[in-house]
Symmetry: D2
Subunit: 389 residues, 4 copies
């Protein structure tokens, strides 16, 4: 069966948290799914040779490169997977696309709007040559959220009135925890906003199929100095929390909050959508569940249903285990690369595209501008795709 399938050579840049989970996805995808292309873990890229070699052995990569340009240039690399910090996304992605290599790029697409726009343009141009690109908003591949998207797309929610979404973590709650690169604006771009807010903006736009057209925002930095680990202190130059209100292209309203100071919330990415016909709610801390309220149920039997999204009929689930046997975090990446390989094999553009990534970036940029301007209403410019429509 799979003998007839071609392989595709993967070159991955970066081998930290995202590198580990992407490696697992590349190794496992064809064991559960039947993509038209089977990934070869060809080359792992990293700056430090020894550490990169160790990671390659650990994660199962055949060879290594310390120069990402060399990695892109190799004949055995057909697809470049970018798992570096955001500051390097643009140059690597654009170079790879120009070299005719498919690209999978971690989120957020870039640290600045200008970079994101350049990337979207590069993707648009490459597309003409059959070169594909995808931004890794993996939460779209949580079966519960993919199912939520289907329900909305099928009209089950009716007209959407409310989206409320938060992404709550707590690892900065203790003021004594030390500085990291994530707290420097020049390296991380922003704080909770880009790290967590990007996910919920994409999720809101994905599930509703609408875009955020304007925002009013407030950001704050609760702990402005932290120990630098050398006996001194460092300045925190990013937001600790970002809250914003928004309007949706379909006429509804939305609220967003991203913080790393919600003590006790470990990874609580929550999304609730209220439509005129039904409502749904999700919490990543219970990622195998979708709450579902069907307005058509008789009042005395109506209530939010706790759907265990582990049925064969749910997106992606058929490839795994029987009902009630849960999936975990890394499955979302396996689903992601399954979809990517299928799109490439079928000659289609995968989603979310770089334009989708840019669309998120434009919202984040509007949030920063609104927050800098006393929360005043700030329109989100239409994206590439929106202009086309």
């Amino acid at each position: 069966m799979s003998t007839a399938r071609e392989t595709i050579g993967i070159g991955m840049v970066g081998h930290a948290f995202m590198g580990a989970v992407h490696s697992h996805a590349w190794r496992s995808v064809h064991r559960f799914f039947t993509p038209p292309l089977i990934p070869r873990l060809a080359v792992l890229g990293g700056r430090d040779e020894a550490r990169t070699k160790a990671a390659a052995e650990r994660f199962g990569w055949a060879e290594t490169e310390t120069d990402w340009r060399a990695l892109i240039a190799r004949d055995d690399v057909d697809l470049v997977d970018i798992c570096t910090p955001g500051e390097h996304h643009a140059e690597i992605a654009i170079a790879a696309l120009e070299a005719g290599k498919h690209v999978l790029c971690e989120k957020p697409l870039a640290n600045s709007l200008a970079e994101a726009e350049a990337m979207a343009r590069a993707a648009e141009k490459a597309r003409e040559n059959g070169v594909r690109s995808m931004v890794a908003f993996n939460y779209r591949r949580v079966p519960a959220l993919a199912h939520a998207r289907n329900l909305v797309a099928n009209g089950a929610l009716g007209e959407i009135r409310h989206v409320r979404t938060v992404y709550l973590q707590d690892w900065l709650s203790d003021p004594a925890s030390p500085m990291t690169w994530r707290l420097h604006k020049d390296k991380a771009g922003s704080g909770a906003l880009g790290d967590l807010g990007a996910h919920i903006v994409d999720a809101a736009q994905f599930v509703t199929g609408e875009t955020v057209t304007g925002v009013s925002a407030l950001t704050d930095t609760f702990v402005k100095e932290r120990p630098d680990g050398n006996g001194g202190t460092g300045q925190v130059t990013v937001d600790d929390a970002a809250l914003f209100l928004g309007r949706l292209s379909g006429g509804g309203v939305a609220s967003f909050e991203a913080t790393r100071y919600a003590l006790g919330r470990k990874n609580s990415m929550r999304l609730e959508v209220n439509g005129s016909k039904a409502s749904l709610a999700f919490d990543f801390e219970s990622m195998n569940e979708l709450s579902w309220f069907a307005g058509e149920d008789p009042a005395t039997e109506a209530g939010f249903r706790r759907i265990l999204v582990t049925e064969p009929g749910h997106p992606y689930v058929g490839a795994w285990w029987p009902p009630g046997h849960l999936l975990g975090y890394e499955h979302t990446f396996t689903h992601e690369v399954a979809d990517l390989l299928t799109a490439i094999g079928d000659g289609r553009d995968p989603e979310p595209s770089f334009e989708d990534g840019l669309r998120v970036q434009r919202v984040l940029d509007a949030v920063e501008r609104s927050a800098a301007g006393e929360a005043g209403w700030t329109a989100v410019p239409a994206g590439v795709a929106d202009r086309h429509n």
Copy 2:
């Protein structure tokens, strides 16, 4: 025992939903608590004589009046309980206070800021003569929220970083449901904002012990015309949804949302507070529970605790049943009048005062002004009490 206690004559104006639940509280309070004054249900006021007499018999009131001024003037009335729509609060309350009668007034304090200010001034003046006043933010008497307030006051949460609170109902979700007075601005003052938003602003300020110092807001009306019940349609002139961001006097940030379009949410008044030492969360749909995360618990045994707020040591609970035997909605009113009677008997001012009500009103007014002005940041003026501090 209770034979030694004096009685206090109650005159109540209004006999709809709030009148029913207040009557129950006045009838029941001394059966469970031991207030220094025992209420006599002396006079029920209402405009329609027949309906008022029927309500009086149903609810247990001795006599009736169709003119609230006559009710205030009666010698057997020591305390006036105002359960009318908001448009009548100011004139009745001020007249009662000037007549030397204690006042309990339903929330929100008034339909306009000017009225609320006049009421607060009248309350301040009456206080000099030992005349007491209270605004009926009954949610302060939910044992779980009263306990939450105690935990914050005792420092258990540390510094407060986040408040997120929503009040979600769904009874307007269907566009075919008809007009009511609540959808006319001249009668109701505002829509979800005053009806539901007032509760969560007060709850946020009560539990944290802080005030909202500024807001950025967005309101919307999803269904602008509804059947008027006579074959035509009526214009909805109030907000269907109100969302706002705020800053707290202690340096934290807050988000608020009030809507009657959250399909499936029947009475979901939720409040979450994240502090530097602990977090708490509450949902009125599970009003006997408080979620509590103690930051000092070891990481491997830490988690949100589902505290059943039914222990003898919890506020108000000792008067009722053994642990695990739940209380309901109307208990909050019984607690409220127990506290009011005790304050009057002890010669103290009860809480929440008219100034507390005014403080909420000022936030709602700032919300309306911000929403009218493109969500721009709008400071909340300091209240009477704040000026004194």
Copy 3:
């Protein structure tokens, strides 16, 4: 309106926990419901004159008696409400019925099977003279359980395969907590079995409409000696925990557990029923909720619904507050007396009858015999009503 209604004189014996909550029900029932008879709180009976008079004033009873026989004999007493410990139920109830007074008797019906049978016979005889009797299994009047019963009765569950029910409390968990009369077999009859097990046996039979036809049981006493409060120790002569398996008359199987040693469970009376078409689940610690799984829902949208049993269409709820405004423990007693007064007024027999109480007693008796006999299967004899059917 209610002026046209007759009154009914109540004489209540006992004024502890059950006396308090029954008093509240008698005082309040006609304020929310419209029973054909309005209760007069005529006489409170208790052995200690001073304490009984104090309780009467507290709870709102007009007069007192220290001899329950005198109470029964009074002309102003039409109904005798028995809130004493179980050892006195039989003699008071039988005397009252023979005197032509309606009877409401707390659960369990009696401390022994022989007493319960005598009571059921007395009730049967009195019925011929239009004298009514009811045993106070108040959990039947939890709206969620009454609704559950309706769903089963309407066939929504199909054939019932499983009932699993537990009643978990924890107040004996600490071995240092002292002796009480509840731990003496001669006074309490049994331990967790009669106190808690009686409720879940009745609930299982009520909700399913079936009877338990046989059991296999195990009981245990974890702490055999406790401080007697006088520096010595006392022997615990009742069960601390009772577990039993059973078969239902409709062919299903059931499990039961009652304990006061389930640390952290305050009042967790849980019932789950699995039918061929649907399932339901309930926990008294969330008594306003019913979990409901409809087998006919499409697999991808199926899940247990959290029904908030606060809709106007739910049993008893229309008399109270809007959706989402919770009811509490004592409401079940108000519902109970509303139903009792309506049955009396309508000349019908109320439920649960003394025969229903006897039916529970027979199960408890079979449990004790099975536990004494190495858990061997023990048939439950058919009750009076069963023989008639």
Copy 4:
């Protein structure tokens, strides 16, 4: 780093559901953990050559054998992993052990007590030669249950009074679903009892560190005939549901229930343990959570904690993702083989041993005898290990 580690050749027999998940574990274990031995997926065994070859390619096995004896005999096989139905466990396991190959055997250990005893004897003998064996009760490697075990072992629960555990599925709920081999006693051994009951007996014994010393049981078959897929019907010869009560070696009591007729419960393996100092509860449908009640918490702040078992300090979790990023079903198998490889490498016996498997089998056997004998109390004979203690 891993270059220095030796490899171990795996031969796996069977390639259905268990074969898929075991393959994933063998492929992935050294990517996340650092076992002293790295598995080589050497040989996959199966009766049908074509299907076995296809599965080998899909799952990543180098070669195939259609005769399990040939597989055992191969020099490149150091460990035999048995994923066949239970009827073949004994002969394959014993042959492999006698050939000096380590064995991992799926649960339940065997279809009969006699086979299980022979397997335990073979394991005991092989152990003398350093040959290791393990039965695959993978639920011991759910981090939440492993953590629960640690809490009990550390004394955090005190004396154990109650265990209540159920394993509920619903895939047989529909009487029209057809016959499978699982419903034939000669192939499956038993029904829900062996399939699901085995898991909860092992989990109860594992978490408490105690053994079940006796049982009283009831089994039932609700649907006795099912469509055979050929237009006729087949006889169901196994139990549909098994319920039993038990006593624990430490003095506590326990209840067990296994069924495939609990409509709406997809994979609800629940375990609750009440001790004198604390309680814990678990549900496999929320497998990343442990409920924890600490008796020492002050009464007003006590409540069941929802511990997200995703902290670095939790068992196995450090190898995976940051807090709040969930694990899934198959991780339990990866943990299992990590522990097995470590034990082999360290020259220690892994757990659960074949004796642990036998101990479960003895409970199941007692359950069947009790159920056949009118639920009479049936002692569970002490196992091999128990005799040694």
